[in-house]
């Protein structure tokens, strides 16, 4: 029995994939790639896959995680390539490690989000972020299955910064980028809750829907407000850690074998 942890993305138009859609697509990719999966017992056996903390439908992600259980050992990097080939472009498997520690889900304490606000001037975004951060609490509302809910969006936000994105069209009002670090609390605070909060505290109203992407998930370093790679402990625990795709990209970038 081997457990493998994977990091995957939701890019481009496939960011509209819901988590349920992804699950079905992933389980089919496992079949196409002929991965020797362990199955649950019972009338309708299911392959053993644990999903952690999926990004909402419509938001992109560079950092989704899951864990699978195999009946025979496989090389994680080879498996990653096979699964990546088997999934549609945009759902890309970008990292794989053999699980050597417990509690991957416990290490997913916080997320780094990038929010692209087309048509919003960077200084306006900066003022809004400052207003948000200076507030003690920011009450927001969200429609849930159980009706309209009101909760605080401020406490979960560990960090919020505004940048300016290059805009090539003259006369364009500009494009602001928000970089957001959010703790995973209950109730979960999502990027769109923070956007509601920015509207409430600083009247920030983007003219077009924001493009939201999760850049990272992991342990939160409270002092620096940064998030660390949740697969690192598994890599460190490995006898002789083989290079992984994420590590490889950097290492091979200048003059790699390709």
């Amino acid at each position: 029995m081997q457990r493998i942890r994977l990091r995957y993305t939701k890019r481009g138009r496939l960011r509209f994939t819901s988590h349920r859609d992804f699950q079905r697509a992933f389980e089919r990719a496992l079949r196409r790639a002929e991965v020797p999966m362990a199955y649950s017992a019972g009338f309708t056996p299911h392959p053993k896959v644990s999903y952690a903390n999926a990004a909402p439908t419509g938001t992109g992600s560079e950092a989704e995680y899951l864990e699978i259980q195999l009946t025979e050992a496989r090389d994680p990097e080879r498996l990653r390539e096979l699964l990546d080939e088997s999934l549609p472009d945009g759902l890309d498997v970008i990292d794989a490690v053999e699980a050597r520690t417990s509690g991957l889900a416990d290490r997913l304490q916080a997320s780094v989000w990038e929010i692209r606000l087309d048509g919003v001037a960077p200084d306006e975004a900066e003022r809004a972020a400052a207003a948000f951060l200076s507030a003690e609490t920011v009450e927001v509302e969200r429609m849930t299955k159980n009706g309209l809910r009101t909760f605080d969006a401020r406490a979960a936000v560990a960090r919020l910064e505004a940048f300016s994105a290059p805009v090539d069209r003259p006369g364009h009002p500009g494009c602001a980028i928000l970089r957001l670090v959010v703790r995973h609390l209950t109730p979960a605070v999502r990027p769109d809750d923070v956007l509601s909060g920015l509207r409430a505290t600083a009247d920030l109203a983007p003219p077009v829907p924001a493009a939201v992407t999760r850049l990272a998930q992991g342990l939160l370093d409270e002092e620096s407000g940064t998030v660390t790679d949740p697969l690192a402990p598994d890599r460190e625990a490995a006898p002789a850690a083989p290079p992984t795709a994420a590590g490889l990209t950097a290492a091979m970038a200048p003059g790699g074998s390709a």
Binding site: R13, L14, F16, T17, S18, R20, D21, F22, R24, A25, E27, R28, A29, L30, R31, R32, E34, Y39, F43, T44, P45, T57, G58, S86, P88, D89, G90, V208, P209
Partner: protein, 641 residues
């Protein structure tokens, strides 16, 4: 001319709609070809929601057949839900294909597959969103040729105003023949414009172009005659029949959607056509003769298809799957092959008399034994003779006894209400049949927790069947009859609680009946309903009977006819039917004799196993029955790891 993707405009709308994934494309095994390097471009539509349209085998097959050809491109489009439709209108985003998000109006051909008439209003929505004039007469040389196919196209008259042409029968070769004609016409510099292209298509005898036919009416509203209005156009248009299914192993690379759809399985059509001769069944009549795919051909398609998709279920499709001459070996061979992989097998459309327990055991070997479904269709022995569904009550009881004895706990039975000559008594006997099923089940299983579900809907007479002359039962009478049946089942103290009862009320059937046997005048009703906001008529939450009736009352009196005239009126032998000039191969006199036999409660056999009954199809279409057994077996696949 390059054609821009509308995705950037669409993308901004997607966060505001339900299930946006259905509009983004990118399905596994989908194909995007270079626009410029293709000279004939098809937009294919299944005019219903993506979740219903994507798994449609017809569209999937044509998509692949066309895209395999050099210089030919096919992309898919589906009906958008009203939430997106509203935003598209507001932001001027046209109907788009999901493959490359190109506007539908930019293609050479816009092909729509109609499994049911209830997609007609969705066609009008799509045309309008695409910026293509609703009336074929208003289209210019730059608009796509709008072509209808699918079973409903066997009577395309109600949509004659809106389509440029219709093709009936199997589409695989037909789309390629059309492609060649369009390619040649474009290469010559489009001589004679749109009219000339349509004429070239029409003169093949395999493409129906409504505008080349004039319909004359009698004073009583019936049709006097339908005749070509220019020379070179044939009097009748023939259906297309593909012979040797093994040469057409499509889909080879079935599409695997990210969005959830109604069927998520590897479907293989194990044979096409059915000659059981059920008189209500349009599919069985218009797809003759029976053409089997060989056991080895099926095995190869399943193998390749599963590898290409990763599906966990195989569906062996046809109109009556247990009738394949080698079905036992197919089921056993596949169950053996995929036992380890936990692949389930399903056999939709199983006849009671073709069912056997060995087959059922093979089918459930890798899955669970939930329920079995049979369709006796009629409650009484008498009515089953009328409809030629030759299944006796003893057959049914024997079959369910075996099933309950082998561990099944639930049987579903399908019936129809409103069949020709039917009385309350025929329908009430459904309750008796269900109680006998439960009694037998309790007896053989020794348990009380067994169930039988009765599912029943209204019968709609269809063109090209022996019942094409029959009066349809009115919605009120259908509902009253179903209510009596419900009372009888409910009132049964001993068995009633073990019988589930599901029924569809009679109203949607009347609209389906109007569209099924309608003529060109019904087009005015469809247009009025569309303009009044009618969409997604196959969906209970969108369908409005009142809207259809109100629009019919507004548009039909001008022609001196009404909804009853099209639905509950019985037709006579001499009446010219709106679809008589569309040749399904069935001899009209044979159909009439079969209709008379129905009234006499006389049954007719299946010509697969008995001499020919002269329905006319094989000689008319130069086709023949193609069945096994081949005697071959499915070998285990060698596993290379």
């Amino acid at each position: 001319m390059s054609v821009e993707s509308v995705f950037p405009q669409l993308e901004a709308l997607l966060p505001h709609v339900q299930k946006p994934i259905q509009y983004v494309g990118g399905e596994l095994n989908s194909t995007v070809k270079d626009w410029q390097s293709c000279d004939v471009r098809w937009a294919l539509m299944y005019p219903d929601a993506y979740e219903v349209g994507l798994p449609n085998q017809g569209v999937m097959i044509l998509y692949e057949v066309l895209n395999e050809r050099e210089g030919v491109l096919a992309e898919r489009t589906y009906s958008v839900w009203p939430d997106l439709e509203e935003l598209m209108r507001e932001h001027k985003v046209p109907q788009f294909t999901v493959d490359s998000h190109r506007p539908v109006a930019a293609f050479d051909v816009f092909g729509l597959s109609f499994s049911t008439e209830l997609g007609y209003t969705n066609m009008l929505t799509a045309l309008d969103l695409a910026g293509i004039p609703l009336d074929a007469a208003d289209r210019g040389d730059d608009h796509p040729i709008v072509v209808a196919g699918g079973h409903a196209a066997f009577n395309p008259e109600p949509i004659a105003d809106f389509i440029d042409c219709a093709v009936i029968g199997d589409g695989e070769q037909a789309v390629l023949e059309m492609t060649e004609i369009i390619r040649a016409w474009k290469a010559e510099g489009r001589p004679g414009g749109r009219d000339e292209l349509l004429f070239r298509l029409a003169r093949t005898g395999g493409v129906y172009v409504p505008k080349f036919y004039d319909v004359e009416y009698l004073t009583d509203g019936r049709i006097a005659r339908v005749a070509p209005n220019r020379s070179g156009v044939p009097w009748r248009v023939s259906k297309h029949t593909v012979m040797d299914l093994d040469e057409w192993p499509y889909p080879k690379q079935p599409l695997v959607p990210l969005a959830e759809t109604v069927h998520e399985r590897m479907s293989v059509e194990i044979f096409r056509g059915c000659t059981r001769g059920c008189r209500f069944c349009q599919a069985g009549m218009i797809t003759r003769p029976v053409r089997e795919r060989s056991i080895t051909g099926i095995g190869e398609m399943v193998d390749k298809g599963l590898k290409a998709t990763g599906f966990e279920e195989v569906g062996l499709l046809s109109l009556s799957s247990a009738d394949h001459t080698e079905i036992g070996d197919i089921a056993k061979g596949l169950a053996d092959r995929y036992e380890e992989d936990k692949i389930g097998l399903s056999l939709p459309s199983t006849r009671v008399d073709a069912f056997n327990i060995d087959l059922a055991n093979e089918l459930t070997r890798n899955g669970r034994r939930s329920g079995l479904t049979f369709a006796p269709e009629g409650g009484s022995e008498r009515i089953r003779k009328v409809i030629n569904k030759m299944v006796s009550e003893e057959d049914l009881i024997r079959t369910v006894a075996t099933a309950y004895g082998n561990g099944w706990r639930q049987v579903k039975l399908y019936f129809m209400c409103g069949l020709p000559t039917e009385t309350d008594e025929d329908v009430l006997q459904i309750a008796d049949m269900a109680t006998k099923v439960i009694a037998k089940g309790r007896e053989v299983s020794g348990k009380n927790d067994i169930r039988c579900t009765v599912s029943i809907g209204g019968f709609v007479p269809k063109p090209h069947t022996p019942f094409q002359w029959a009066p349809q039962l009115s919605a009120e009478e259908t509902d009253a009859r179903l209510e009596k049946l419900r009372e009888k089942i409910r009132g049964d103290k001993k068995y009633g609680r073990s019988i589930g009862f599901r029924y569809h009320d009679g109203k949607p059937g009347i609209v389906e009946g109007l569209l099924s046997r309608g003529d060109r005048r019904v087009g005015a009703v469809i247009r009025a309903v569309y303009e009044d906001g009618g969409r997604f008529d196959g969906w209970r939450e969108h369908f409005s009977y009142d809207r259809w009736m109100e629009c019919a009352e507004r548009t039909l009196p001008e022609f001196g006819v009404d909804v009853d005239w099209y639905t509950t009126r019985e037709r006579g032998y001499e009446e010219v039917l709106p679809w008589d000039h569309l040749d399904s191969g069935l001899d009209k006199d044979w159909l009439w004799e079969d209709w008379q036999d129905a009234l006499d409660e006389t049954e007719v056999d299946d010509c697969r196993w008995t001499p020919c009954f002269d329905c006319g199809v094989c000689p008319q279409m130069s086709t023949e029955i193609q069945i096994g057994p081949t005697g071959r077996k499915l070998l285990p696949l060698s596993v290379v790891k």
